[in-house]
């Protein structure tokens, strides 16, 4: 049995038994949705449908309905793409990296964080798909034998690396998530009464894959989880490094920097944790998980946000320093233009939201307050969106030729698609919170007797 110091704060509050954990986790699945769930769901569904309409309009009419132009030929869509991919990273960090570091507090939040990863990456994948203009030709990006003469993909291109990285990331995340879900679906299956809920019983029987909790199965389960965590850890770092190389391997001043991979990975973790907090602070209330997702969990995440936020700040300043130190006037201009040019407000929002505001987490009262954390997490989400906007749009809008200098502004279609992905994301997350065990209950039971408040007395 695990031993844990008495001084360490408990991770499970209240006098819980194993059966209490089962009941608490199964309650949102077995019960009926409350009013707030329906309100949130309807709002998100409306946004989602609006987004789908905008996507259909884009595909039917052409990319001309977006605000892109010849100079700023990557803008709104790729900003959203990088933002969503970044959000996904926290889920894998929590479930894989924290597993390797044996951080037990991950157990209460890994399931939902990983759901967020999968839903976030799905939103991200939509953007390159619709930017293709003819999404039914999307299979062109895969190296498959074809009838177009030997037309193959270019393995030297970071865009192809991205295709491989993101599809591997998405599918491996799904598998990792599902392997962990099997024992929890089995728990739900065994609780369902055949007479009262025959359809649900069938559904969870289907999804539980016949799990029965044999000793040998648990042994394999633990080893498979550990190896998947070991594989997912370099994978998650590679994904955002490769996303950053979409920019860093080009020769655009402001993009062509070697700091991009670590800087993007840190930014991704930073924004991902902020989104985890935004979601979980609401979710713990709506589905009554306060005993499992405690203030301590929120505080740990805030510490990570403070750490990664400060490192992102260091990266911003390093970029400025390197631009000056390089002596390349184009590079120097690109950064001067970011801070003082026509898009100064985007740069200022980024600096405020990402570097200044997270410093408030040094104050104990703020990092243990739910309301403050919720507000600050929204700021970080906004700040990280602006970071991508600053990197992409301000680097492009002052071209090498002053005659092609221009500005970018989104059309209502651009905004509609972005809002649509937010709606789609929340629709998926809300459905998940009603149909899936939102906390990895099997794992949580294994730490009850070492980290439960009842057993720490």
């Amino acid at each position: 049995m695990h031993k844990e110091s008495k001084i360490r704060d408990p991770l499970i509050l209240g006098n819980k038994t194993y059966h209490d954990i089962t009941r608490d986790i199964a309650r949102p699945v077995e019960g009926k949705a409350n009013k707030y769930w329906w309100i949130l769901f309807s709002l998100s569904a409306v946004l989602m449908l609006w987004g789908f309409a905008c996507m259909a309009y884009t595909i039917g009419t052409g990319i001309g309905v977006w605000g892109l132009n010849k100079t700023v030929d990557w803008a709104w869509d790729i900003t959203n793409f990088v933002w969503w991919i970044g959000i996904g990273h926290a889920g894998t960090l929590i479930s894989a990296v924290l597993l390797l570091f044996r951080q037990k507090w991950r157990m209460a939040i890994n399931r939902s964080a990983e759901a967020m990863t999968i839903f976030g990456v799905a939103q991200a994948a939509l953007f390159p798909l619709i930017h293709m203009g003819r999404p039914w030709l999307a299979y062109f990006v895969f190296p498959i034998p074809n009838q177009f003469g030997s037309l193959w993909v270019n393995f030297n291109s970071p865009l192809l690396w991205d295709v491989f990285a993101i599809s591997t990331y998405f599918s491996v995340s799904c598998v990792f998530w599902y392997i962990g879900l099997i024992p929890d679906f089995a728990m739900l299956r065994d609780r369902m009464d055949k007479k009262i809920a025959p359809m649900r019983k069938k559904l969870y029987t289907l999804m539980a894959f016949g799990w029965s909790g044999r000793a040998k199965h648990w042994q394999r389960f633990e080893e498979v989880s550990l190896v998947l965590a070991g594989l997912a850890t370099p994978l998650v770092f590679s994904v955002h490094s490769i996303v950053s190389m979409d920019f860093a391997t080009s020769i655009i001043p402001g993009w062509h920097t070697t700091i991009f991979p670590p800087y993007f990975v840190l930014g991704a973790l930073f924004s991902g944790f902020a989104m985890v907090e935004t979601l979980l602070i609401i979710m713990r209330k709506v589905v009554n998980m306060e005993s499992y997702i405690t203030i301590k969990h929120i505080e740990y995440m805030n510490v990570i946000i403070l750490f990664t936020g400060s490192l992102v700040g260091v990266a911003y300043i390093t970029e400025l320093f390197m631009a000056w130190y390089s002596g390349v006037e184009f590079e120097q201009y690109a950064f001067l233009n970011r801070a003082t040019g026509p898009y100064w407000w985007a740069y200022a929002s980024m600096m405020t939201c990402n570097v200044v505001i997270p410093q408030l987490y040094w104050i104990y009262k703020i990092r243990t307050s739910l309301i403050a954390t919720f507000i600050l997490s929204i700021f970080v989400n906004i700040g990280m969106w602006f970071e991508r906007f600053v990197i992409i749009v301000t680097s492009l809008h002052r071209d090498f030729l002053p005659s092609s200098w221009t500005m970018f502004s989104p059309t209502f279609i651009d905004i509609g698609i972005f809002l649509g992905t937010i709606g789609f994301f929340f629709v998926l997350f809300l459905l998940y919170s009603r149909a899936f065990p939102v906390v990895a209950q099997a794992e949580l039971k294994s730490i009850l007797k070492s980290s439960g408040s009842e057993y720490k007395k």
Binding site: N154, F155, F164, F176, I179, M187, R214, H217, L226, I242
Partner: protein, 180 residues
């Protein structure tokens, strides 16, 4: 030798009791056929006499296959096969040799390694555990996914010895079954 074809199901509330009971039973040479539990019990595997699992080794083998697959795919498309008919010089990286281009092939070879290792290991895991969509549970008691731990003992005679041993521990239920 008589077949051991009778079963006792002992149900426990706490994993610590399972550990001590399984140890006592196996010390007395009784056959503990299976333990069903709602979560992994750490320290049970050596007591139960389970061998170490080889899942990690399979992952390594699948990873090697993925690495070779990725490398061969790129070699064919960029260098030897298609690359011969459509030579390309991208960013000063002519595609005459594999190793000169290797740095820009690393990301995809790495992704293929992870893709193969993760997916094939997970499939092996499901296959070895006989888990598939819609399979029925083989657990004798549905409470074992909730809060109960079930120890399955096989025997043919000296049933009373087993029962006495179980009763000395914190067992909460003992059920007997006749056939295997």
């Amino acid at each position: 030798m008589k077949m051991k074809n009778k079963i006792i199901h002992a149900i426990f509330d706490d994993e610590q009791d399972v550990l001590s009971v399984v140890k006592d039973l196996r010390d007395k040479k009784f056959i503990v056929n299976e333990v069903y539990s709602p979560f992994p019990i750490h320290g049970l595997d050596p007591i139960l006499g389970l061998k170490e699992t080889r899942m990690a080794i399979t992952a390594f083998i699948y990873g090697c296959i993925g690495l070779s697959f990725g490398a061969l795919l790129i070699y064919y498309i960029m260098i030897s096969g298609v690359g011969k008919s459509w030579p390309m010089n991208i960013g000063g990286k002519p595609n005459f040799t594999f190793y000169h281009n290797l740095p820009s092939f690393v990301p995809i070879i790495f992704e293929c390694t992870v893709l193969f290792a993760a997916h094939l290991m997970s499939l092996t895991y499901l296959f070895r555990n006989k888990l598939y969509p819609g399979a029925n549970t083989t657990s004798p008691d549905p409470r074992t996914t909730d809060d109960k731990f079930l120890v399955e003992v096989l025997y043919s005679e000296n049933k009373t010895d087993i029962i006495t041993l179980l009763k000395k521990s914190n067992v909460c239920e003992i059920n007997e079954k006749d056939e295997v």
